[in-house]
Structures are given as structure tokens and as C-alpha cells.
Symmetry: C2
Subunit: 338 residues, 2 copies
């Protein structure tokens, strides 16, 4: 077990390394932090911390830098979440209040996060899984061609073309529209399939094929759009990564273009609590020297999506976590209002 002071030393190392980006030695530590002990003592502590795998030296006779395991301990036990200043909170509020629609909310959130944390921001669009249907609209574009428009309670609109097996009259269309809406409006996506299952049977023989096709398209849309979209920003902050730059940055840029990878990053923990994945804890190699701070957000108690930032493992965890949490909270409020 590590003594109180050794934890203190680890904290100091993390803080200094994050600040200076350089390996930190025993002497410098005692000078910058009032630990009350001499460099020699700190050296002993450091040796112990190194034995336990919390810190490492890049090469003999250099200072120490925290390992992933060291950051993990720091985040779990040593660091709080630094609350934002009043000014920052006001800025968030003001900036988000100006949004005009869902796209805008997401876009502004991304910018905000990137600016506050000076890192790469990732925001997932509100998920459809927990969403409900606000309205389904059917438009006849040609005798055998229908456009299906799905509107969700989070304000998203999805459309699909449907090619009908047979011509479909306006009255039938109106009928279908009315019955469909009476069944699914206000319901969750996941409930829709069972709710519309028997709908074709109540139509005349000639129309059943078309009704089935339309319903199939609707269900398909629900499933497809559950694959969630996201928006990223602040990639310019990648240039602050470090000195060994080109090698580090390339795989990160590649990962950022793979939506699947990003969704996994954000999504692995399914509740709305804040998650921090440090270095090798990220499944995707290439993100092995980055950390991901993510948290769920939502209009009510439940999280409907996640947002977070991707940055070097050497990041200011308390500050970043504070910013991420605050932004998530405000976005939730905005969504609840609209």
C-alpha cells in the first residue's frame, strides 16, 4: 500500500508533467511543491512508485513521467473535478442559447468543448434509441412513389423514398397516414415494430403490398438511424500534442474519421456517468497515447447521447472533466427546453 505522502508525490508529478511537458525530477518537485521533505526522500518515494508501475523514466537519469496506470490512480483517487468559473459558465450558457435547431446545438457544443478544453471535441447526436416518434408523414410524389418522413421528439427529421409495388390512391394514403400516426406517435422507436405489425391486414387486398413496403421502410429507417451520427471539432488542437508529433497525430486523425471507432470510444460505458479512458485502456491502437473523457447527456434523467473530448494522456484531467461535465449539463437543459 502506498503511503499518504507517496500519493502526494504522484499527484505532484502528474501536475508538473502536465504543466511542463517534461520529465520531472526530485529536486524540481521539492522546489515547486511544499512536501516538507528533502529531494532524497522524494527519490525513495519515486523509486517505490516506479516499482509499482505508476511512473517511469524515459531513460536512465532523466526525470519521471506518469504511466497510464499512474494517471488512472490520479484520476480515481487524487484529482477532483475542477468546477468552471462563473464567467465560463455564463459563456457556455450564452453561446448555447443562441442555437436555432438541433444541428446548431450540436455544432455549437462541439466548438465550445474544443475551445474550453483546447482538445478535440466529439459530440454524438441525440440517439434515436430512446427517442419517441413525433410524427410520420407520407407524401405521394407519383402514383407509385411515396416519400416517408419521420420526425422525432429530439427534432430530427429523416426521409426515405418508397417505391410501391402497386399504385396507391390518395385516400388510402391519408388512411394509412392517420392510422399509422395514431399508433406510433409518442411511442418509443423500440416499441414501433410490434405496434404496426398487424396494420396491413386492415387494408384491402390491393393495397396490402404497398402498406407492407412502407412499414418495412419505416422500420428500416428506425434501425438505420439508431446507428448514431456525431460531429467532431477542434482538430487543430492536435498540434499541441507534443514533440514526437507526426507519429502520434496520424493514427489519431485516422481514428477520428472512423465514426465507428468514435462511437465505440464514447459509448462503451452505457450509463450517463463520466468515463475516462486512459492510453492503452482504449481498445483502438493508435489511440494508445490519448485519453478520452466522455459523459452522457440528455434532456431528462436519462442520457440520450454522449459527448466528450480526445486529448493526449498528458492532459489536465480535473479541468477537462469539469468542462465536459458542465457542457453536458447545459446541453441537456437546452434540449429539455426545446
Amino acid at each position: 500500500m502506498l503511503s499518504e505522502r507517496r500519493l502526494e508525490v504522484l499527484r505532484a508529478i502528474v501536475q508538473d508533467y502536465v504543466g511542463t511537458e517534461e520529465p520531472v525530477g526530485s529536486k524540481a518537485l521539492t522546489e515547486r511543491h511544499r512536501l516538507g521533505v528533502s529531494p532524497a526522500t522524494v527519490r525513495n518515494d519515486m523509486a517505490a512508485l516506479e516499482d509499482e508501475g505508476f511512473i517511469a523514466q524515459p531513460h536512465t537519469s532523466a526525470g519521471r513521467i506518469p504511466t497510464d496506470k499512474g494517471y488512472r490512480l490520479f484520476v480515481d483517487k487524487l484529482a477532483g473535478v475542477k468546477p468552471l468559473s462563473a464567467a465560463e459558465r455564463r459563456a457556455i450558457q450564452n453561446f448555447l442559447d443562441g442555437a436555432v435547431d438541433l444541428d446548431d446545438v450540436v455544432a455549437r457544443t462541439v466548438r465550445l468543448l474544443a475551445q474550453l478544453t483546447r482538445q478535440v471535441a466529439v459530440v454524438q447526436y441525440p440517439s434515436l434509441t430512446r427517442s419517441t416518434v413525433r410524427h410520420v408523414e407520407l407524401l405521394s410524389l407519383a402514383p407509385a412513389r411515396i416519400m416517408l418522413v419521420l420526425i422525432t421528439d429530439t427534432g430530427r427529421v429523416e426521409q426515405r423514398m418508397v417505391d410501391c409495388p402497386a399504385p396507391f390512391g390518395e385516400t388510402s394514403l391519408a388512411d394509412l397516414r392517420a392510422r399509422l400516426n395514431s399508433r406510433v406517435v409518442g411511442r418509443r422507436f423500440t416499441d414501433v415494430p410490434s405496434l404496426v405489425q398487424d396494420l396491413p391486414e386492415s387494408f384491402e387486398q390491393d393495397d396490402r403490398g404497398t402498406v407492407s413496403t412502407v412499414l418495412a421502410t419505416l422500420l428500416e429507417t428506425l434501425v438505420e438511424e439508431t446507428e448514431e451520427r456525431l460531429m467532431i471539432g477542434g482538430t487543430a488542437n492536435l498540434t499541441r500534442f507534443g514533440h514526437d508529433f507526426p507519429l502520434t497525430i496520424r493514427p489519431v486523425l485516422e481514428a477520428l474519421e472512423e465514426q465507428v471507432v468514435l462511437l465505440k470510444l464514447l459509448g462503451e460505458a452505457k450509463d450517463s456517468r463520466m468515463t475516462v479512458r486512459i492510453g492503452h485502456e482504449n481498445a483502438h491502437e493508435g489511440l494508445n497515447s490519448t485519453s478520452v473523457v466522455a459523459v452522457g447527456y440528455g434532456s431528462g434523467d436519462e442520457a440520450v447521447a454522449k459527448l466528450g473530448v480526445v486529448g493526449p494522456t498528458r492532459m489536465d484531467y480535473p479541468g477537462t472533466m469539469g468542462a465536459v461535465r458542465a457542457v453536458a449539463r447545459y446541453v441537456g437543459q437546452i434540449l429539455a427546453e426545446s
Copy 2:
């Protein structure tokens, strides 16, 4: 005026520099290109080219590299557009054919361009300016709350909420929907304002306020959405920029996050011809060491939007231009079919 051979020398310099990324000297030139003259002669030609500002030396007693002006001459007079191989053309076709909707077309196009050119790809969504209205749908969400959905012939769907000044009945709504559509369907966006101008007058006094509000929202949507969206990809290719990397890449990443800047980049020349902006020809500083190759694409003869790539001035212009042109052509075809 430059002699034939000097132009040939310039071409050789550009080609070699693009290939090797290193300043090219007189001796290397004569070895790799059968110019039929000695290094000394080439040196004289190089001196002349330097006097004219087409090439420069990074430092005394180093080889020469092309200047922006040199690339310009190369692109205008010396280089053709390199057509793609049959295999590449097939690959494009196959890849784009798999697209299911507009978003997907754009997304696939971006990936394709980035992969073919190994540079950063930018694709503008089909512009609404030249688009026509396919359908306008009005949905009553609450007694005094209407959702307006605009569907364009390019497959885009935009929605807006309208808060009505007074409750608005279902029959009035159906009436408005029918009249509105009969006037604007198939029409260009730019024509819509004059077409709906007198519509409120034909409604009863009580409803006029709401009708006006709806129309105002519609017009607003048309205008707002003319501010065009775009998608970028292949940013990982920025890592191939050069050695002086961090300095070069940062402003580029920043510019890429500013939609406005990008739209300007693509849009400056308004016709559908291919444009190449080299280095300082780009208004935005920070893109001073990049070139932009852009071309319009569209479903018919007219260009509805632009696409292109952003890369280092030291790029393979013939190949890039060939790829950009080919992709634009195929995207146009896809759009025309759907």
C-alpha cells in the same frame, strides 16, 4: 519569352520536386530527364527561370524548387490532366453506386476523393440556389404549432418549427398545403418569393396572420439553407505535408474547421470549370502553402455544387486534377439518376 527547352526544364523540376520533395539540382536533372544538354546549360536555364521568378533556391548552393508562379505556369501550359486508369474508374463507379441517400453520396464522395488523391477532400452539398421544390409539407403538432418540411429535388429535407399567432384548423392547413404546393412544386427557390406573395389575401381574416408566418418561415428557410453545407475528409493525409510539419498543418486544420473559409475556397469561381488555386493565390493566409483544386458538379449541365481537394502546393497536379474531374463526373451521374 522562355524558350521551349526552358519550359521543359521547368517541367522537369516540378516533376522531380513533387516526386522527391527535395530541391533539384542541374546534375540530377540531366540524369533523370533526357534533355540532350549538359548540366552547365541547364544551370544557365535555371538562372533565367529564377530571374523570371518561376523557381527559387531555399539557400545559396542548394537545388531549386518551384515557386507558386512556377507551379502556375506548369499547370496552365505544361501539364495535362491525367486520365484515370480503367480500374480506378470502375472502382469509383462501384463505390458510388452503393450510396443509399444524399448524405451517403456526399460521404462516399469525400472518402473516394481523399483516397484517390491522398489529400484532404472537400465536398459541398448540392446547392439549393439552383434547386427546385419537390414538396412542402405542413404538419400540425399542436393547435398553434406547425412543422414545416421542405423537400428539394436533390433529396434534401429541411424542417422548421412555426409558432402561429392564432390557432389554425386542420382544414385551413390542408388548404394552405394544397395551394402552396400547387404554386411552388417544380419551381426554383429563387422564384418562390414572388409566387407566394399574394397567398395570404385569399385566406380568411383570422388565418392570414398564420399564413404569413408560415410563408415567412419558408422563405427564411430557402435563404438560410442557401448557405451551403459541406463535408471534409482525409485530414490524416495532412501528415504527408512535409517536414516542417507542425507549423504548416495547424493553420490548415484551423481553416478546415471554418466552413465559411472552405466555401470561399471552393466557390470563388462560379462556373463549373476546374479551378486551381496555388499557394498565395488563396486569399486565406495559413493556406499559403497549399493548393486547392476544385470543380463544379451537377446532375445536368449546370453545376449545383463544387468539390475539390486541398493539398500542399507541391502536389501531383495532373493526377489530382484527373481524379477530381472524374469523381465530379460520376457524382453528377449518380445525382441525375436518383
